[in-house]
C-alpha cells in the first residue's frame, strides 16, 4: 500500500468493461487504493468519487469513440469542485478511428489532461508515470 488513491472509470455512454477491470486489478496489485466507478460514468460521477475519497488522481477510460466529446470540460469542473491539483489521465481508444496519436495527445493536453495514452497501451506504463507524477519511489 502506498496510500495514494486513484479514481478509475469509463466515461460517457461507454460500456467497455474489460480494460476497466484489468486496470482495477493492476493498480491494486501496484499498491494503490482504487476507487472504481465502473462503466457508463459521467464527469460528475468521477468528481464526486474523487472528492469523497480525497483522491490523488483520476484515470479516465474511453473506448467507444466519443471520448473527445465526453471529456470536454472535465478539468474545468474539477477546478470548480476544488480539485485544482488532481492529476488527470485518459486512455483507451480515445478518439474515433485511426488517427495520428501525437495530435490526439495535444488535443487532450489542451483539454487539461496531464497525460493521454494511445490505443492498447499497457496499464503498467500508466503506473510508472503516476508513480513519477506522485513522487512515489519504486
Amino acid at each position: 500500500m502506498n496510500s495514494k488513491t486513484i479514481v478509475i472509470g469509463v466515461i460517457g455512454a461507454d460500456v467497455h468493461a474489460v480494460g476497466n477491470k484489468i486496470i482495477d486489478y493492476a493498480l491494486t496489485q501496484a499498491g494503490f487504493k482504487v476507487v472504481n466507478i465502473g462503466v457508463l460514468s459521467t464527469q460528475e460521477d468521477f468528481i464526486n468519487a474523487a472528492i469523497e475519497t480525497n483522491a490523488d488522481a483520476i484515470f479516465v477510460s474511453s473506448l467507444y469513440g466519443h471520448g473527445e466529446l465526453d471529456c470536454q470540460g472535465l478539468r474545468e469542473k474539477c477546478d470548480e469542485a476544488g480539485l485544482e491539483n488532481i492529476i488527470l489521465y485518459v486512455g483507451g481508444n480515445i478518439v474515433v478511428g485511426k488517427q495520428d496519436f501525437k495530435e490526439v495527445e495535444e488535443r487532450f493536453k489542451k483539454l487539461g489532461f496531464n497525460r493521454a495514452y494511445a490505443p492498447g497501451v499497457k496499464i503498467e506504463t500508466g503506473i510508472e508515470d503516476i508513480k513519477l507524477d506522485l513522487n512515489i519511489d519504486k
Binding site: 460500456v15 476497466n20 484489468i22 486489478y25 493492476a26 462503466v39 466519443h66 474515433v96 478511428g97 492498447g120
Partner: protein, 488 residues
C-alpha cells in the same frame, strides 16, 4: 414487474405500443402498423434478410457482413454501397450509435447537428430513431442487399418499430445479450420484457407475410466467455423469441480461438438450439448460425490483424456457418475507414471462397469437445429452467441472481461476476472457477484438469493471472497467454 415466457396478446402488445411510440417524436410516423407492414411487404424478396440466410443455409454457403454506421443518411448509404460493391459484402448492417442505444435521443440530435456542421460523423453509429422511418427507408431503398440493425440496446422497442417499418428485415439483440454486456444497471426483467415486445413485433410482420430474422448477440462481452455459457444464452434467447412467434433465428458465437473448440461450439449451438426448440414445441423454425471473428483485443499491426481475420474465416468455413461478422485491420485503433472495412471483407470472402468446397470432418477429439460443450450447456439450461420454476423468462432473472448464468467481464451489476475463464494448454477456453454455474462434478474436474495441464507446461499456478494474461494474448500475437503478457 410481472414476467412470463408467454406470447404477448395483441392487446398487451398494442397497449405497450402506444407508450413506446411516444418516447420520441419520430414514433408517430410509424403509428399505423398495417401500413408499416404493407410497406415492408413491398420490398423485393432479394432484400429480405431472413430469406437470404435461409437460402445460404440451404446452399451451404457462408455469407459476409461488416459492421458500419455513420451519423448522416446520405453518408451512411454511401458507406454501405462501398462495402457492398468494393467489399463484396453479402449482408449489410446498420450499426447504431451509443446514444441511441441508451435512448438518449437528445444527445443524438446534438451529434447530428455537429456532424452536419463538421461534414463528418461525430457519432459512432447511425441514429436511426432520430432519422425516423423516412430516413431509414431511404437506406434500404438505396441498397440492393438486405439491411440489419446491429446495436446493443437494452430497450430497442421504438427502434425496432422504425426499422421494420422501413423494410429492414433483421434485428440483432435480446433481453440478456443486449443487457448484461451493454449496461450497468438495466433490470433484467425489464429488458426481457422489452425484447419480448421486439420479438412479438417481428413475429407480427412474419405472420403478415414479411419474414423477419432475429439474431441474439452471441459473443456477449467477447472476452473469454466459455462456449457453453454463450451458447446457453443464445439458446434461451432463441426460445424466448420462438415463444413470441419468431420463425427465423440466427444463433451466434464469438470465436474463442481454438479451432477445434470453435467448430465444436458452433455444431453444439446449432444442434442444441434445434433440439431445444423442438423439445419446447416450437416447430418449423429456420435456424441459421453466425460466427463472429475474434471479438477481444486485436493486434495493432495490420498484417497481424489480417492474420486474425483470416484465421477466424478458416474456422467459419470449416464449421460451415451461415454468416460471418467481419473485423477490419483497423480494429485495435478505432472505427475503420471504409477502405479498411472493405479490406476486412475482401480478405474474409477470399478465405471463404478458398475453403468453400471444404469442411471439417469428425474426429475423436472433435466429438469429445462437442460432448463437453453440450453437457455443460445442458447443465446450465436445465438449472435456468428450474430456477424459473418452469418459466424460462423468470428463470433467467433468477439464474443471474444466483450466478447460474454468469458472464465474464460484464459491466452489469446484475451479473454475479463469480466465474473466471482461462485457456487450457491448447487455447480452448475453460472454467478456471465455475462460480455458481451448476456443472457436474465430472465437468468441473475436466475443466480443472485441462487447466492443470497448462499450468504444468507453463510452470505456473492455476490462478487469475492466467485469465489476465489470456486477455492480452491475441493482441500480443499468441493465443494462450504467457506469464509476462500483461506486463509488456
Amino acid at each position: 414487474m410481472e414476467l412470463e415466457n408467454k406470447k404477448l396478446t395483441m392487446d398487451e402488445f398494442l397497449k405497450t405500443r402506444e407508450e413506446v411510440l411516444k418516447t420520441w417524436s419520430t414514433g408517430e410516423q410509424v403509428a399505423d402498423l398495417e401500413k408499416n407492414i404493407e410497406y415492408a411487404r413491398s420490398i423485393p424478396k432479394s432484400k429480405n434478410f431472413a430469406l437470404k440466410l435461409k437460402k445460404a443455409k440451404h446452399n451451404q454457403i457462408t455469407l459476409t457482413q461488416p459492421r458500419a454506421g455513420v451519423a448522416l443518411v446520405e453518408n451512411h448509404i454511401g458507406l454501405l454501397r462501398y462495402l457492398s460493391e468494393e467489399g463484396e459484402a453479402d449482408l449489410l448492417p446498420t450499426t447504431i450509435d451509443s446514444y441511441t442505444r441508451l435512448n438518449r435521443y437528445e444527445n443524438c440530435e446534438l451529434g447530428l447537428e455537429e456532424s452536419r456542421r463538421n461534414g463528418r460523423s461525430m457519432l459512432n453509429g447511425f441514429p436511426v430513431v432520430n432519422h425516423g422511418v423516412f430516413g431509414a427507408r431511404k437506406v434500404q431503398e438505396n441498397l440492393d442487399k438486405p439491411v440489419q440493425a446491429r446495436h446493443g440496446t437494452p430497450d430497442a422497442r421504438l427502434m425496432s418499430e422504425i426499422i421494420h417499418a422501413a423494410g429492414w428485415t433483421s434485428n440483432e439483440g435480446g433481453g440478456i445479450s443486449y443487457n448484461i454486456p451493454y449496461s450497468k444497471d438495466a433490470p433484467l426483467d425489464k429488458t426481457i420484457k422489452d425484447w419480448q415486445y421486439c420479438d412479438r413485433l417481428a413475429a407480427i410482420y412474419e405472420e403478415n407475410g414479411v419474414p423477419i430474422n432475429r439474431e441474439p448477440f452471441g459473443p456477449l462481452t467477447g472476452t473469454l466467455v466459455p462456449p457453453s455459457m454463450s451458447n446457453a444464452v443464445a439458446i434461451i434467447e432463441a426460445l424466448l423469441a420462438a415463444e413470441q412467434g419468431v420463425k427465423h433465428i440466427t444463433v451466434g458465437y464469438g470465436q474463442c480461438g481454438n479451432q477445434l473448440q470453435d467448430i465444436a461450439a458452433i455444431k453444439a449451438l446449432e444442434q442444441l438450439t434445434e433440439y431445444s426448440l423442438e423439445k419446447f414445441g416450437y416447430k418449423n423454425r429456420i435456424i441459421t448460425t453466425v460466427f463472429h471473428q475474434w471479438m477481444g483485443g486485436f493486434p495493432k499491426d495490420e498484417a497481424k490483424a489480417y492474420a486474425a481475420i483470416s484465421n477466424a474465416s478458416v474456422t467459419a468455413a470449416l464449421a460451415r456457418v451461415t454468416k460471418v461478422i467481419v473485423k477490419t485491420p483497423h480494429e485495435a485503433f478505432g472505427i475503420p475507414t471504409k477502405e479498411a472495412n472493405a479490406n476486412g471483407l475482401k480478405c474474409t470472402k477470399m478465405v471463404l471462397n478458398l475453403m468453400a468446397d471444404q469442411k471439417s470432418y469428425m474426429s475423436k477429439k472433435l466429438k469429445e469437445q462437442l460432448n463437453i460443450i453440450k453437457e455443460e450447456t445442458e447443465c446450465i439450461l436445465d438449472a435456468v429452467f428450474d430456477a424459473g420454476k418452469g418459466d424460462m423468462a423468470n428463470g433467467v432473472v433468477e439464474a443471474f441472481k444466483r450466478g447460474i448464468l454468469d458472464i465474464p467481464f460484464a459491466p452489469s451489476k446484475h451479473n454475479a461476476n463469480k466465474i473466471l475463464p482461462a485457456r487450457d494448454a491448447y487455447g480452448a477456453v475453460r472454467y478456471l472457477d465455475s462460480g455458481n454455474v451448476p456443472l457436474t462434478k465430472e465437468l468441473k474436474s475436466y475443466n480443472r484438469y485441462m487447466l492443470e495441464k497448462r499450468a504444468i507446461v507453463q510452470k505456473r499456478p492455476v490462478d487469475f493471472q492466467m485469465t489476465v494474461d489470456d486477455i492480452f494474448a491475441i493482441s500480443e500475437g499468441r493465443l494462450v497467454g504467457k506469464p509476462d503478457f500483461s506486463k509488456r
